[in-house]
Amino acid sequence: MSQESEEPTVGGVTRRTAMKALGATLGAAAFARAMVPLQALTEETSVDEFLQKHYKEMTPEELRKVMDRLEKETLERYGAEVEIFDAKPIPGVEYGYALNLSVCVGCRKCAEACHIENNHDRKTNNSYIRVLEMEQGSMDMERGNASYDHPVPAPGKFYMPVQCQQCANPPCVDVCPVQATWKEDDGIVVVDYNWCIGCRYCEAACPYHARRFNWSRPEIAAEEVNPVQAYLSNRIRPKGVVEKCTFCLHRTREGKHPACLEACPTGARVFGNLLDPNSEIRWVLENKRVYILKEELGTQPRFFYYFD
């Protein structure tokens, strides 16, 4: 009996001890490998950002702290002093936007104004607006050309700027696995860029190709950064997250017109409050022949196109 309990050894080490050591080594290696992503934290994501709560779950004080941190990071990374604030929806306001295709000449001034206003990446010349050059007689936006570069308006063409349609029934919001994007009370669909995991499901779900993905950290010269920034709109987005048009909520929730409207040299754009019966947008909806893009999908856009 006593002989059986004695374990065989190799060079004084029992098999049990050897197995234990092997197990410990493998376990330690696996643990170290699992912790590798934490090393990347300091590069793109600070620990504070990693522990940050969802926009809707933060108290105003917590949000202020986060925005202070973001202001500091912008100064460190871009050398630009900015002020980030939290723009809230105005009660009794639901935004609507209309665009007159009869007068749009396709000059891309709206896309350019968006690029500057919303602190877009300079090297990709990104913008939330794509102006599609369309064949007269065609209404299929999928066949529009966004990369034309010749004097406009070209004969036989018309121009259809497409941006986020701020759908009342937004498919992009439905597909987000982490609820990083949602529809606000004034109808604007927003993204918490710090909650977004960059899976790009929303980009695939949007029938209007309105969402953009930050493949790299946006490049902007310090003097070109627009310092008036809102948490949910034009603050400089981090790498690896999705962004979209917010109807310039940092402007419109202060009562101002969006940047693309002010830049339009033809006055093709009409913006306003759908709930105000005396607003310009309501006059357009009641008096012009209005249509919405891809109506058959049931997305219920708040962006309207019209001819006159």
Partner: protein, 209 residues
């Protein structure tokens, strides 16, 4: 016996119809509590700010190509020549741009079959003239344009034509709007062709990539 039965039948029918009526009335008027509250109506706070229609600087003058200290174009009043030079005053007004041989020869005219006096006052060159003969100041040129371009003017009046800057919510700030001639050259009003801002350098809708 049959009479009694009939009577009780009437009572039952009356009772049932009474109950149905009561339920109907309840459904009709009692529903008020379940209906969602009235939609929120937007009410602008306080007084509304102004909507200013911008008049281009130097309107109604002949541009000299020079600028003043503020960067505004220096123009010469039409009456500088047209009121004092006997030869010009006495000659009847030239009616077509093609007939301008000595002055205003750079004028490009592409505005239908209009003649000069369709808009310019033949007796007072510092004024414009409506089709019914009413004098109009250059700064009120929109009244003149509206005579023919009624649909555009109606859209303009309702905020659906012409560029603007400022506030959509006038209770929070003012708005500036363009005058017709800020964007349209009255002598050749069609919007000219122009080179667009550069295209995006992304992968979508971009056949070159």
């Amino acid at each position: 016996m049959t009479v009694g039965r009939k009577k009780s039948l009437y009572v039952v029918v009356a009772l049932i119809s009474g109950v149905i009526l009561a339920v109907g009335i309840l459904l009709l008027f009692g529903k008020g509590n379940d209906v969602s509250p009235e939609p929120v109506v937007f009410e602008p706070k306080g007084e509304l700010h102004e909507v200013v229609i911008l008049t281009p600087p130097g309107i109604g003058t002949l541009r000299t190509g020079l600028e003043d200290l503020h960067g505004n174009p220096i123009g010469v009043a039409c009456s500088t020549c047209h009121a004092d030079r006997a030869a010009l005053v006495d000659t009847p007004m030239i009616e077509h741009a093609a007939d301008l041989k000595e002055f205003h020869t750079e004028l490009k005219f592409e505005h239908g079959t209009l003649t000069c006096s369709s808009c310019h006052h033949p007796d007072d060159r510092d004024k414009l003239r409506l089709s019914n003969g009413t004098e109009v100041a250059f700064t009120d040129v929109m009244t003149l344009c509206a005579q023919c371009h009624g649909t555009q003017y109606r859209s303009y009046e309702n905020g659906a034509h012409g560029g603007m800057t400022g506030y959509w919510d006038l209770s929070r700030g003012p708005r500036e709007r363009n005058n017709c001639v800020a964007c349209h050259n009255p002598h050749a009003p069609a919007f000219p062709q122009l080179q667009p801002a550069p295209p995006p350098r992304d992968r979508f809708f971009n056949p070159t990539h």
